[in-house]
Amino acid sequence: MSITTFGDICMKHLESPTRSRSTLLSEMPGRVKAVTILPLLLLVAACASPPGEIDAWPITGAQESEFSGTVVDLLCELNGNCTDNCGEGNRQLGVKTDSLGTVLVAKNLTDFSGAADELWNYCGQVVDVNGLFTTHQGVRFFQVQNVRPPEGKWLKATRYSEAWVARSGKDAGMARNWHEHDERVKAIIKRDGYLGLGQQADDEYFE
């Protein structure tokens, strides 16, 4: 089968479940790699694996990892300023481990969103997590893709969408592209423009 489109790559990949998903990116022809990131992220979503499995993302040098640790509130860890439940989604969280230290969990599986909603329910508990490490200039980030609570099953790290719908009061159908429907974001763009420099700068640049 010749590979010419993202869909072909996805189907070929899904038809070969024993092969590592990390091979997905390396199979892409050069011209496919050259297109914008959005279709690729949509492909990732379309090819989403079952709970517990790690998906490849178009991140150079990303390393798959699975480990166990305690869910901690970073502000609490650093300066002793703690809340009852890790801030209930309002604070940045980490997973404290014996082998890796305290890992900042910066990202989840939903586009443009972080990981607090994926973890705060397990504040102070030991969970299993897996996903991708990415490192640049000595800064190491972890993208959580799956969480396994104590004595539970693996869960995809996509709770953000559900939480956004609950917080925003928007229709669930908007959750996939939540960033386009978020009233906070819309207000900032309306005020400052897409460049952040005001409407006049936008008019001149995008004309």
Binding site: L38, C82, A106, S113, A115, Q143, R184, I189, D192
Partner: protein, 155 residues
């Protein structure tokens, strides 16, 4: 004699209570007071380089995406001019909300000078911003070189 024994006993009790009280606290780390100047950035795109090199995902080219990511709760960072290090913001002017903080949303891509406290933990630098000394607005005009990144962040 009896009164002296009572005093010693009281002293011992206070000591035990004090020690237990300290043990109940989370182990606070010693932070370092700093003044930093740099751009408020979307840390995920900067570190992962998922949309291109780090230069591409700062400034005006990446402004809308930076707002999206801050609204979505990805850590906002200050990219310090002096050492080119990323400092993850955990509190801002007394507000301990570091996920989708309204003030931080509105400061994405701005160049700020801040006073605050830095904590180092397992290779990362975290910052509690005590005070914004100055806000120079958005001065990194990357759209002139890179356009809008990602393309979907254009009107």
């Amino acid at each position: 004699m009896q009164s002296r024994s009572v005093s010693i006993l009281k002293c011992l009790c206070y000591s035990v209570v004090f020690t237990l009280g300290m043990a109940g606290q989370s182990s606070a780390m010693e932070g370092k007071k700093v003044t930093l100047t740099g751009e408020m950035i979307d840390t995920w795109c900067y570190v992962s380089q998922i949309m291109g090199s780090s230069a591409v995902v700062t400034g005006t080219a990446h402004h809308v995406c930076a707002v999206w990511c801050a609204a979505g709760g990805i850590p906002v960072g200050l990219l310090n001019k002096e050492d080119n290090k990323v400092y993850m913001v955990l509190s801002f002017e007394g507000d301990e909300t570091s996920v989708a903080n309204e003030k931080l949303l509105n400061l994405q891509s701005h160049e700020l000078t801040v006073k605050g406290t830095v904590f180092e933990l397992d290779g990362l630098s975290y910052l509690n911003v005590d005070e914004v000394v100055s806000d120079n607005g958005i001065v990194n005009l990357t759209h002139e070189d890179f356009g809008i990144v990602p393309g979907q962040a254009a009107p």
